[in-house]
């Protein structure tokens, strides 16, 4: 069966520091991969999605970036974090277009 892993679960970072969040999927090949941010009491906001290695689409202009160095690895990065980057970050995968997306357990990011 397929599983998705995200780490770390919790992260506290100072303003201006870099960021790297990692997500890996097991048990499938060539998945669609997604990064979302969830603000308290609000719906999930899609940040990036990828349909293949090196293929990244950005949905929201921001100081975050994403990369997909391997088929089942998706990384969310920032060179300099802002206070507004605080939130709950979720990675998801789906087998293909129109199929349900399956989520990891998220990373709670706090910026001080």
């Amino acid at each position: 069966s397929q599983t998705i892993h995200q780490w770390p679960a919790t992260l506290v970072q100072p303003v201006g520091s870099p960021l790297s969040l990692e997500c890996t999927v097991e048990g499938t090949s060539n998945p669609n991969l997604y990064w979302y941010r969830q603000a308290a009491g609000r719906g999930l906001q899609l940040l990036f999605y990828s349909v293949g290695i090196g293929q990244i689409s950005s949905e929201v202009p921001q100081n975050l970036s994403a990369s997909r160095p391997q088929d089942r690895q998706f990384i969310l990065s920032s060179k300099k974090l802002l206070l507004s980057d605080s939130g709950f970050y979720l990675c998801a995968w789906s087998p293909g277009e129109g199929q349900p997306q399956h989520f990891g357990d998220g990373t709670r990011l706090s910026i001080l």
Partner: protein, 111 residues
């Protein structure tokens, strides 16, 4: 503008008291509607996919239905373990595999 609205924002039920959650959408060309359950501090857990008006799906005490403008998640005789936030999301023809999520309904079931 493509939009998904869930109501109510919060719902408190007594154990065994059945109710329904609503998800209304305005999108151009629905390709699928998805229901998720989210527990505090966790990622959403997939429940159902509905693809066309009139379709229904069931799982234990949950039943999801779909019309051309909205979906309902019916909860029959809920138990305290059904307490969670329920999210709906819509896949529309204008966006490649991009879901638009509603803000969710927080359900609390008390014994």
């Amino acid at each position: 503008e493509d939009q998904v609205t869930q109501s109510p924002e919060a719902l408190r039920l007594q154990e065994g008291e059945s109710s329904s959650l609503n998800c209304s959408y305005t999108v151009s060309g629905l390709r699928g509607l998805f229901w998720y359950r989210q527990d505090p501090g966790k990622g959403p857990e997939f429940l159902f996919t509905l693809y066309s008006a009139g379709e229904e799906k069931e799982k234990e005490r949950l039943k999801a239905t779909l019309t051309k403008k909205e979906s309902f998640l019916h909860i029959t005789a809920p138990k305290p373990e059904d307490s969670a936030t329920y999210l709906c999301a819509v896949l529309f023809s204008g966006g490649y595999n991009k879901l638009i999520f509603g803000a969710g309904t927080r359900l609390a079931v008390h014994p």
